[in-house]
């Protein structure tokens, strides 16, 4: 019953106690705040950095070069764009040195809209990040997936960009993380810092967490269907699943894949599903021009063309310079449930 913030915190606790993580850092990551979303609260190795994204990425890179596994946070992805050249250097470090230097590090940053975040708290980073080779990129949508993929990211010998959907951070899941107390309040009592003066000297009471991880590169089947495949990720994953549940009652059978990893993505799962349903819809909230979903549409078109019953489609955010604060603006800029429903119904009704 953990939420995403608690799940990440549990995984980082495992990281620093069992997986050799030496430093967890970023703006407001250490005490007393433990992260703007409390993802790093109560951790032994968490510390506050200067408000300097380039310094954060650079220092994370340097620590990794010296063999220190570390997790650094950029709060939020809207503020990571001034580090693009450093992200490229991290990504090309191993290749440019002909295999001499590996860079085992994790950068975590919340992405996407849905919190009335306006221009600078609503950015997506999936399209930009998947343009930087040498990284693995994950974007889980549930607490358990965040937990399991963070463990895998920490263990991975390569740089991993851990994106997480900020609109879902407080959503509790019915799935339990192995070792997590069954009752939601029990976990909160043990690992959430008390507010006010009681925080002084407080220490979390971590549950015992058995070995558990979710492999990077594996999609998750959210619901089975036969009429069309929706491949999605992040905040759009539960949205698409809810649309699929609604359409099922109307006799439209939608299969939904939560990719969870954007690179290396699970092509096998996509191809297997599309061969069955013969229709493909990719849904994401990043701006639609040179969008990661376009790559998937291109590959489905090129490799599965003769298996398709209808043209592959992509539903993404509109190509505007920002997300408007007024709700009427935002909901007209990123896909909403009714947009997904409309696109899915139209695609299911298209025949070659």
């Amino acid at each position: 019953m953990a939420n995403i913030a608690q799940a990440i915190r549990l995984a980082l606790h495992v990281g620093e106690t069992k997986l050799g993580v030496t430093d967890i850092f970023g703006e407001d990551v250490g005490a007393p705040l433990g992260g703007v979303f409390t993802c790093t609260q109560g951790l032994e190795t968490a510390w506050n950095s200067p408000l300097d994204e380039r310094g954060i990425i650079g220092t994370s890179f340097g620590l990794a070069l010296a063999g220190c596994r570390n997790v650094a946070e950029i709060q939020f992805c809207d503020y990571i764009f001034n580090t693009i050249d450093l992200l490229k250097l991290v990504g090309n470090c191993r290749w440019s040195s002909n295999g001499q230097f590996s860079v085992p590090l994790v950068i975590m940053t919340p992405v996407g809209s849905g919190i009335h975040g306006s221009l600078y708290h609503s950015h997506s980073f999936d399209a930009a990040m998947t343009h930087i080779p040498g990284w693995k990129v994950v974007l889980p949508s549930t607490p358990k997936d965040c937990y399991g993929l963070m463990i895998s990211a920490i263990k991975d010998p390569n740089p991993v960009m851990f994106l997480y959907p900020k609109a879902l951070i407080r959503t509790q899941s019915k799935e339990l993380i192995p070792g997590e107390p069954e009752e939601a309040r029990a976990l909160s009592k043990r690992i959430d810092a008390p507010v006010g003066a009681a925080r002084e000297g407080w220490k979390p009471d971590w549950p015992d967490l058995p070995d558990f991880e979710i492999p990077i590169g594996k999609a998750k089947l959210l619901c089975e269907g036969t009429d069309l495949t929706i491949a999605t990720y992040g905040r759009m994953a539960p949205l698409c699943a809810s649309v699929a549940a609604k359409l099922r009652d109307d006799g439209v059978s939608v299969e939904v894949l939560d990719l969870r990893t954007l690179y290396p993505y699970d092509w096998e799962a996509i191809a297997q599903s599309v061969r069955k349903t013969r229709r493909f819809l990719q849904v994401n909230e990043d701006t639609e021009v040179t969008n990661f979903g376009e790559h998937l549409v291109r590959r489905v078109t090129e490799e599965l063309f003769y298996e398709l019953e209808a043209p592959p489609k992509m539903l993404a955010g509109v190509n505007t310079p920002g997300i408007g604060l007024a709700w009427n603006l935002e909901k007209n800029q990123v896909p909403q449930a009714e947009d997904v429903e409309r696109a899915a119904r139209a695609l299911a009704a298209t025949y070659a």
Binding site: P50, G58, A66, L89, S96, G134, K155
Partner: protein, 337 residues
């Protein structure tokens, strides 16, 4: 602690160290060899033996002492070097076979730094903690605090050395380095070098900067700083020897600016022609050594000629070495689990 005094004034004697004596002829030979290497590689860019050249003729008097004083090895007990692309003399002084630089210039599969993937003088050599050099000038100043932080936790005498040009200090990465190296109670064992050749490609430093002593920017951070004549190997040796000793012992940052010449312009893209209006550290050092009767004019001439011949010979050999296999492009993108 607020630190107003520049250089090492006020540092306890035990942490200040006494400059180790410099082997003048050894330094001279390495300087001459580094120059011959770069001159050969410039010629390679003009013939069909290589594409682009960028390098360090003019920085030998500072770089040879630095390379000799660095603690060479792998891991945080040894020095980490974050080097800009004019650092061939540092590598040579550390023990690099000049043939390896020629291999990189010729984009050969045998290039030990990048396997024919990167420009010349973009070194990366894990056994000596030389982290990958880049063309994105100044980014190394944002990365260096990371290795220094690892060394702070590790203890011992290993330090992080980062160098870069004067023009690049306009980038925010330089301020990042000063800030992250001087967090109270978390000061880093890092040597922050500015190699001031007074140029950024074709733009004079003074045309686009109001400040005149770059490392003075370290002062408000409480970081000790100093300026040295980087064309003078003895002054460079003495200053580096003292400063590196201080960083090793006190585990504190130090910012040092070396004023040097740039003798072949920015790179092959600007012609790489020899300029004659700046001091040549090798010619000047020769005069001094001859005056001191440590060598003679003819000995110096013979030595330089021998190095020139050696580099030609090395190129002959490198020409016969294999080019990278085209199918190797996907090698080393990712580390295996």
């Amino acid at each position: 602690m607020s630190q107003k005094a520049s250089d090492l004034r006020g540092v306890p004697k035990a942490h200040r160290g006494k400059a180790e004596p410099m082997d003048e002829m050894k330094v001279y030979r390495l300087m001459a060899e580094a120059r011959a290497l770069e001159e050969r590689m410039i010629k390679m860019a003009k013939s069909s033996d290589g594409f682009f050249w960028i390098g360090g003729p003019g920085e030998e008097a500072f770089n040879v002492p630095l390379g000799l004083l660095a603690h060479r090895g792998r891991g945080p007990a040894y020095d980490y070097l974050h080097l800009h692309y004019r650092s061939s003399a540092i590598l040579l002084a550390m023990g690099m076979d000049p043939k390896d630089a020629i291999r990189q210039m010729a984009s050969k599969a045998t290039d030990p730094f990048s396997g024919g993937r990167n420009f010349v003088n973009h070194f990366a050599f894990a056994p000596w903690n030389i982290v990958p050099g880049t063309s994105t000038i100044e980014t190394q100043y944002s990365v260096a605090p990371g290795t220094a932080l690892a060394q702070l936790a590790h203890g011992g005498e290993g330090i992080t050395i980062v160098n870069g040009g004067d023009a690049g200090t306009a980038e925010g990465d330089f301020a990042t380095c000063l800030n992250w190296s001087s967090r109270p109670g978390r000061e880093l064992p890092i040597l922050i070098l500015v190699i001031n050749n007074k140029w950024g490609i074709s733009t004079p430093f003074d045309e686009v900067h109001g400040d005149r002593i770059i490392v003075r920017r370290a002062e408000p951070f409480g970081i000790r700083w100093d300026v040295v004549d980087g064309n003078d190997p003895e002054a460079s040796w003495t200053k580096l020897s003292e400063v590196m000793h201080y960083i090793r012992k006190e585990r504190k940052p130090f910012a040092l600016e070396a004023v040097v010449s740039r003798l072949h312009g920015h790179s092959s893209s600007s012609g790489a022609a020899r300029t004659h209006d700046e001091p040549d550290c090798i010619a000047d050092f020769e005069e001094r050594l001859i005056e001191k009767k440590l060598t003679t004019r003819s000995e110096c001439d013979e030595l330089r000629e021998a190095f020139t011949k050696k580099m030609s010979q090395l190129l002959e050999e490198v020409r016969e070495e294999p080019d990278p296999d085209p199918s190797s492009i996907f090698d080393h993108v990712y580390a295996e689990d």
